[in-house]
């Protein structure tokens, strides 16, 4: 990234910490768009407890992909539909068969196990680990890592603005193209695996937001008129 910025290493105009942060932002955004970083953990459930705060047990949670109990998959639902299915779902005992997840953090499970505690197999789209050291490796697939520096490059240019930023904007679009392409691949895979959440479709995102018109160009345009 520093080479692209025509800066030295360690940077004169951009510090290493600054560039590292830009790369971390790039990787986190890439994972948010594509939901490509999957993890499966054991999520502990307790007898008689219908509601859980996901952040109590999972600290890098973005969205649930697949939840199962003793090898049987739980169906994704909403609290509204759970209310319609049963007026006592909050206090019904048995093996969990449905779950609802709302907002960043709230998880509801029904029925609830009758005694002790047990675990759900919880597959979710995760946030990548923060890269701190120079030799840390991104969590995303190696073939996708090349795109991170494109976003980081533009992110670093943002503080300068002007023609330099405008010239760098194709890199941002290349990053978004790559993320959109990988998201469609993950979406197809998620469909095949019948995941409960899929990556967004970036094709409907208005890219015109990134077509910059600089102030001097505005003045010239007005002068011409």
């Amino acid at each position: 990234v520093l080479n692209q910025l025509d800066d030295t290493n360690p940077g004169t105009h951009w510090t290493n910490a600054e560039v590292k942060h830009a790369i971390n932002v790039a990787q986190r955004l890439f994972c948010l768009i594509t939901l490509c970083h999957e993890k499966t953990v054991s999520f502990t459930i307790t007898a008689g407890q219908a509601f859980y705060e996901i952040s109590d047990q999972v600290t890098d949670f973005i969205a649930p992909l697949r939840v199962s109990f003793n090898g049987l998959r739980l169906r994704a639902d909403t609290i509204h539909h759970l209310d319609l299915r049963s007026r006592t779902w909050r206090i019904t005992f048995g093996d969990p068969v449905r779950y609802a997840q709302h907002g960043f953090d709230l998880l509801a499970v029904t029925p609830q196990i009758a005694s002790g505690s047990d675990v759900l197999s919880f597959t979710y789209a995760a946030e990548p680990t923060e890269m701190v050291a120079d030799l840390d490796v991104p969590d995303i697939e190696p073939d996708q890592q090349i795109h991170l520096e494109k976003f980081a490059f533009v992110y670093c240019l943002l503080k300068n603005g002007g023609q330099e930023l405008k010239n760098g904007m194709p890199f941002l679009n290349e990053f978004l193209d790559a993320a959109a392409k990988y998201a469609s691949f993950i979406r197809a895979r998620s469909r095949a695996q019948r995941y409960d959440n899929m990556p967004i479709d970036l094709s409907t995102f208005e890219r015109g937001r990134f077509e910059l018109r600089l102030r001097n160009q505005e003045v010239e345009k007005r002068g011409t008129k």
């Binding site: 986190r28 909403t78 209310d83 006592t88 909050r90 206090i91 930023l165």
Partner: protein
């Protein structure tokens, strides 16, 4: 993961040509804190990302209305905690059509508590109909609601990805400011990037609840 606003602001300094609050010009830490606070409140209101549960409102015999939980934006679901029975969303108008004495008629075993409503009682108030009877007194409301994180200084309980979003919003607002410091093209780009985050939030969290 609790996002500390001090860390978020520290991440913004290099993007503002500064290394700390001491050498920043045209803006300061307080202004960035306000931008972050505005961004998180707007985000919470628009996408309903902070959905939490509150279970400590105690029913009193004959008491119609109850204060909504802290930092309440909107109520999603109300149930009775002890029985798990969900209440049906209603309105003052509907209850007035149903019975002119709805404000005083107490629940019985044959006609238990059935509805909740939120309008025409003032802000952040939840009404319960029929009003709790003697058998309901001491029971609790199980409220699932949208919340906003009011005091950003307390830290925001979410992942770093959304911290990035808040930083980008704060930088957008900083560069939009009508001053010599303004860089409209940077503000436009920050705004464009923030819209990507919002598109994901809309898809993942702003669905039927």
């Amino acid at each position: 993961v609790s996002l500390n606003p001090t860390t978020l602001i520290a991440n913004c300094w290099p993007q503002l040509h500064a290394t700390s609050a001491a050498d920043v010009v045209f803006t300061d830490a307080d202004e960035l804190l306000r931008f972050l606070s505005d961004a998180i409140k707007s985000f919470a209101q628009r996408f309903g990302v902070f959905v939490v549960r509150h279970t400590t409102r105690t029913l009193g015999q004959g008491t119609l209305t109850y204060t909504a939980p802290p930092r309440h934006l909107s109520t999603l679901h109300v149930a009775l905690l002890e029985t798990g029975k969900p209440l049906v969303a209603s309105s003052t108008k509907e209850q007035e059509y149903r019975s002119t004495s709805y404000r005083t008629t107490q629940a019985t075993a044959a006609k238990p508590i059935r509805w909740f409503y939120e309008d025409k009682e003032g802000t952040n108030v939840i009404g319960i109909v029929p009003v709790p009877g003697a058998a309901d007194a001491g029971n609790h409301l199980d409220i699932v609601y949208h919340r906003y994180p009011c005091e950003i200084e307390e830290g925001i309980e979410t992942i770093k990805t959304w911290g990035d979003y808040l930083e980008i919003c704060a930088l957008r607002d900083a560069y939009t400011a009508d001053s010599d410091f303004s860089i409209p093209e940077s503000a436009q780009t920050y705004d464009g990037i923030s819209k990507i985050y919002e598109k994901v939030a809309e898809a993942l969290y702003f669905k039927a609840q």
